[in-house]
Chain length 322, copies 2
């Protein structure tokens, strides 16, 4: 029921880089930070557990990156600008190499995304590694990209590409035959996701609804449809498949693209008259965007092939969405 002096040694060695001016970081009961005048706070938290959310032998640098990335993705999904983060870390034992790599991966993204680590909690765990990250960001009142905001007639967009994280996961779990070239091509999508925080922030006040594709496009778009009380038609050939998926079995590709999770990219909806502006903002943020369908009044999710005919994906659970 106590943490012992190791806790403090750990914090001091790896997690006390100085806070930016105007912030109070590690070393007091709370972190302190300032929002821009008139902005609201957006905040989210994610718990990652060894063996459940990541493999025990994952590269700790990639793990540090991803632990923060999945949270920054939630800010991007709200159109919020990252401000700061907190990290809770529980380890079964103290390995300096592991901590150095983990903190390097974490801090590198925190610095690029202007999301400084201001505090947290470290403790020794009785089991595996446990990570909880909380992010805070700011967004103007009324401009947050809510799931409830989609309107009939909206275009549906996604950022980045689809399917590679799912293929990498299947390969690492042995659910696909070993294929080193394919794993090499897909692995970064799983382990080094790059959520589009600059573009997400730029969409505030422009897009109508947004979320990230952490549970797969069909399921996550389904959340928007349910919250906004509408339906969607997707144009399957418009989906931005990851290049490594070309030539693979069509059913597998369909499942990876539509049901594959761990995609820390945005799915968002916006009025068609915003499409030029959206493309400009994406270009400025060096973010790939693809228009993949429309919001319609009829509930449910329908997917059309190249010939305009409805596709019935064969993977388990798809019927739940349509």
């Amino acid at each position: 029921m106590s943490t012992g002096p190791n806790e403090f040694d750990l914090i001091a060695r790896y997690f006390t880089r100085p806070a930016p001016s105007g912030f109070l970081g590690v070393g007091d009961d709370c972190a302190l930070l300032k929002l821009a005048p008139g902005y609201n706070l957006a905040t989210s938290t994610d718990l990652l557990i060894e063996g459940r959310h990541f493999f025990s032998d994952v590269d700790p640098k990639a793990l540090g990156h991803k632990a923060l990335a999945v949270n920054i993705s939630d800010l991007a999904s709200m159109g919020a600008q990252p401000l700061a983060c907190l990290l809770s870390l529980s380890l079964p034992d103290v390995k300096a190499d592991w901590l150095k790599a983990f903190s390097d991966g974490f801090y590198a993204l925190a610095e690029r995304a202007h999301c400084p680590l201001l505090g947290g909690d470290t403790t020794r765990s009785t089991g595996g590694v446990i990570i909880n990250v909380t992010v805070m960001g700011q967004v103007k009142p009324g401009q947050a990209l809510l799931r409830t905001g989609a309107k009939v007639g909206d275009d549906i967009w996604v950022t980045g590409t689809l399917g590679a994280a799912d293929i990498a996961l299947r390969l690492l779990q042995g659910r696909l035959p070993a294929n080193n070239d394919l794993l090499k091509a897909c692995r970064a999508a799983l382990e080094w996701p790059e959520p589009p925080w600059a573009f997400g922030k730029a969409l505030a006040g422009i897009a109508h609804a947004a979320l990230d594709i952490s549970d797969g496009l069909a399921q996550d778009l389904g959340h928007i449809l349910k919250a906004s009380a509408c339906g969607a038609e997707l144009d399957y050939p418009a989906l931005p498949l990851h290049p490594a998926l070309h030539g693979m079995d069509a059913d597998l590709v369909q499942e990876a693209a539509l049901a594959g999770g761990d995609v820390y990219q945005l799915c968002f909806t916006a009025s068609p008259d915003r499409s030029i502006r959206i493309q400009e903002l994406a270009d400025r943020a060096q973010c790939r965007v693809s228009r993949i369908g429309q919001i319609v009044a009829e509930p449910g999710l329908r997917i059309r092939g190249a010939d305009g005919v409805l596709i019935e994906p064969s993977f388990i659970g798809f019927d739940h969405f349509s």
Copy 2:
């Protein structure tokens, strides 16, 4: 590497009470909240692990209460007013009774402290119960109670009483002979801590430095002394011992009062000319306060007995502070 539909069922059933007006709660990528104009954000996070921070057979209602209480204590320690919280919860299995009791304990305190639960993350764990709570509060710029703020000549104060949580922990761990009456008298201090959030907020701009006594008075006051580059003299007879400790072995009482952790009460310092005001604010918040010593220039922590003679506590580790 996925959470499955159970996650959503869990959230929906036990953790989606409506957010207050002006807040966005559970159900989107982020929670949204508003700070009062001109205030800064104070935030803290705590990770609690079964078997390390709480017993497996703890009353889940008390656990829900305490998981939030230890975080609200961090806000009180900064002089920040609670605004909202996030909860990450990982469970090895889903037991409706357990979840109902846990959420009842959590929400009851959240409501009393005006600290609504706005979001979080739930997942199935491979080991025991894992809880991470993040709290957010607000404090005026320059009024936060930092560890660096103590000044030579300040009075040192504590809220509440000392020692009972430590005695309860010793009894539960079998480090003291079983004594049901004593356990009954001390257990609430350990399992149902009541951090003085209203009084903590009232101290913003009045006290100089503050923290909670989660690691024990000597160690935590030591953090203030180190951060503020000063020393302290405590008047041992002025320590507000919990009534259940009267008549117990003097060395044990000393150790429980000075080294016993898990005390979610404040230790703070303030100019002596604020003492009447502090007593008034404490009365208004129905919070017991005791003046227990002074901040001095000479580094280190010294403790004087009734006769003014220095006490040398015999418990292990005390020499580290003096």
